[in-house]
C-alpha cells in the first residue's frame, strides 16, 4: 500500500523518464530548487554551465540568433534553460528588448529560414509565459504539492496493480489495432468534451508556425528598413478588434503586409492574451483560433 512509500512525486530524474524529456517539461512537476543567487553582474555564457550534462548543446559559432542583454549573452534555448534552472532571474530579462533586437536581426538578413525562426518563436512564447507567471496576479492554479501535503492517499491502488492494468490495456490495444471501424480514422468519436477551449500561448505559437510555413510557399514579402513598433501594432490590433468584434488569429496574421509585420503582430497578440485583455478560444472542430477583447461583464440584473 502507498503508506510504505513517500507519496511525494519524485522529480523526473529519479523515476522512469516521461516520454518527452523536453526543455519545456521542467516548468512544473519539479521540486523547487533552493533559493538561488541573484542574477550575476556579468553576462552568463555557455561556459557557465559547461559541466551540466542537461544543458543545450552549444550552437556552432555564427549559427542561430544570439541574444545580447546585460544579464545574459547567448542563444535563446540556453537562456530558457538557465531560467528554468533558476540560474537567471526572469525579472532581469526584458522581452520587449529581445523582440525588438530580433526584428532588427531579421531585417538585416537576406534569407529567412522559417524552421529556425519558428523555433525562436516557440521559445519566445515559453519565455513570455514564464514571465507572465511571475508578473501578474494570476488565477490560483492547483498545486499538486499542496494537495499532496494535505491529503491522504490510502485509497489508491498500489503501482504494481496499476501496471498490471496497463499491461492488460496494452494487449487490448494490440488486439484492437487490427480491427477497423469507419470511425477509427474518421472524425473522432463525438463525446461530451468541450469543443471550445481557451487556447494556450503554445497553441498560438504552433498555429503561427503552420502559417509561416504556408506563407513561405507564397513568398512572404520582406520589407527592409520599415520600422514597426510594438506599441503601434498593439493599438492597431485593439482597434481592429473593436471595429470587427472578433478576429481569426491566423487570418489576421495572414493579412499582414510582411513577415516582420506578422511577427510583431504575433508578439503583440501574445502580450495581449497574457495581460488578459484579449481572449483567445479555439474551435476544435475547425481548428481555428478566434480572438476577441475581454469585456467586463455587465452588472447583474434580476431575471
Amino acid at each position: 500500500m502507498p503508506d510504505e512509500r513517500d507519496p511525494r512525486p519524485i522529480p523526473e530524474e529519479s523515476g522512469p523518464a516521461p516520454a518527452g524529456g523536453n526543455p519545456g517539461a521542467a516548468i512544473d512537476g519539479e521540486t523547487p530548487a533552493p533559493k538561488t543567487p541573484a542574477a550575476p553582474a556579468v553576462p552568463l555564457s555557455a561556459a557557465a554551465i559547461a559541466d551540466d550534462p542537461e544543458a543545450p548543446a552549444p550552437a556552432a559559432p555564427g549559427e542561430g540568433y544570439q541574444i545580447k542583454l546585460p544579464a545574459f549573452e547567448g542563444p535563446l534555448d540556453l537562456l530558457l534553460f538557465l531560467i528554468k534552472k533558476k540560474k537567471i532571474e526572469i525579472h532581469d530579462i526584458p522581452i520587449s528588448i529581445i523582440t525588438r533586437e530580433y526584428l532588427v536581426y531579421l531585417r538585416d538578413r537576406s534569407l529567412i529560414n522559417i524552421d529556425r525562426e519558428a523555433e525562436f518563436l516557440l521559445m519566445a512564447a515559453i519565455l513570455i509565459y514564464l514571465k507572465s507567471q511571475t508578473l501578474l496576479p494570476r488565477e490560483k492554479v492547483a498545486d499538486p504539492d499542496v494537495e499532496l501535503r494535505q491529503r491522504n492517499f490510502d485509497h489508491l491502488l498500489p503501482i504494481e496493480r496499476i501496471q498490471a492494468v496497463a499491461h492488460l490495456l496494452r494487449d487490448k490495444e494490440e488486439e484492437q489495432s487490427q480491427i477497423w471501424t469507419r470511425s477509427t480514422f474518421n472524425a473522432p468519436l463525438p463525446d461530451q468534451d468541450l469543443d471550445l477551449v481557451e487556447v494556450s500561448l503554445f497553441d498560438l505559437a504552433e498555429s503561427f508556425f503552420a502559417l509561416m510555413k504556408r506563407k513561405q510557399k507564397e513568398s512572404f514579402r520582406v520589407i527592409k528598413g520599415k520600422e514597426i513598433s510594438l506599441a503601434e501594432k498593439t493599438e492597431e490590433i485593439v482597434a481592429a478588434l473593436k471595429s470587427r468584434g472578433v478576429l481569426d488569429f491566423l487570418d489576421y496574421l495572414w493579412e499582414q503586409e510582411s513577415l516582420e509585420d506578422a511577427l510583431v503582430a504575433f508578439f503583440c497578440l501574445l502580450e495581449l492574451i497574457k495581460a488578459r485583455i484579449v481572449l483567445a478560444v479555439q474551435e476544435q472542430l475547425f481548428n481555428t483560433i478566434k480572438v476577441w477583447l475581454r469585456r467586463e461583464a455587465p452588472p447583474e440584473e434580476a431575471a
Partner: protein, 179 residues
C-alpha cells in the same frame, strides 16, 4: 483464393471513406489480376444483393460503397433524425461558448463575437435548455440577455461555470507536449 480476394475487397470497400474504385483496389492489392478483381467484385455484389443482410454494395461515383437496402429507409431516417437532434452543431457550440464566457450577453454582442447571425443557434440552445433568458440589458431597445443554465453545466460535466479550465491550467498541460 477468389473467396479470400472477395473478403479482402469487402473489407476494403467497408473501410474506404470514399467510393472505392477498382484502380484503388489494384493499388492496394498489387498481386491480384484485374480480371480476378472484377470477378470477385461481381460475386460480392451478388452475395450481398441476394443475401439476408440489410446492407448491400452499390456502385457510386465510379466506385463501390456499402449502403442500406431501400426497404430499411424508414427506420434509418428515424434514427438519423434522432441522432441529429442529439448532437449540437458546431454553430450552436460556438454560440454556446460565446455565451459561457461573456454572460449575461445580448444577441447583438454574440453576433459581434461570431461575425455571423446566431438566431438559429439561440433557438436550438434555448430549446435544449442549455441557455436561458436572464432579463434585459439597460441599453437602447432593451435587448434580451442570455445565460447558460445548470443543464449546460451538467451537459459538459462541470460543477460551476468557474470549472471551465483556465488558460493557465491548459497551458501547464500543453507546454509538455510542445516544448
Amino acid at each position: 483464393m477468389t473467396d479470400n480476394l472477395k473478403s479482402v475487397i469487402e473489407a476494403l470497400i467497408f473501410i474506404s471513406v470514399e467510393p472505392l474504385t477498382t484502380d484503388r483496389i489494384k493499388e492496394a492489392l498489387p498481386d491480384a489480376g484485374e480480371a480476378e478483381i472484377e470477378e470477385a467484385l461481381r460475386q460480392l455484389i451478388d452475395d450481398y444483393a441476394n443475401g439476408p443482410q440489410a446492407i448491400r454494395i452499390t456502385p457510386s461515383a465510379g466506385g463501390y460503397v456499402f449502403s442500406t437496402k431501400p426497404e430499411y429507409d424508414v427506420p434509418v431516417r428515424a434514427l438519423l433524425q434522432i441522432e441529429r437532434r442529439k448532437k449540437l452543431s458546431g454553430q450552436a457550440l460556438e454560440t454556446l461558448s460565446a455565451i459561457a464566457y461573456h454572460q449575461p450577453v445580448t444577441q447583438a454582442e454574440i453576433a459581434a463575437i461570431r461575425s455571423v447571425d446566431s438566431t438559429h443557434s439561440l433557438h436550438t440552445l434555448l430549446e435544449n435548455k442549455l441557455i436561458k433568458i436572464a432579463g434585459r440589458k439597460e441599453a437602447p431597445g432593451r435587448p434580451l440577455l442570455y445565460r447558460t443554465t445548470d443543464k449546460f453545466l451538467a451537459y459538459f460535466g462541470l460543477d460551476s461555470i468557474d470549472d471551465l479550465p483556465s488558460a493557465e491550467e491548459l497551458k501547464k498541460l500543453m507546454e509538455q507536449g510542445n516544448g
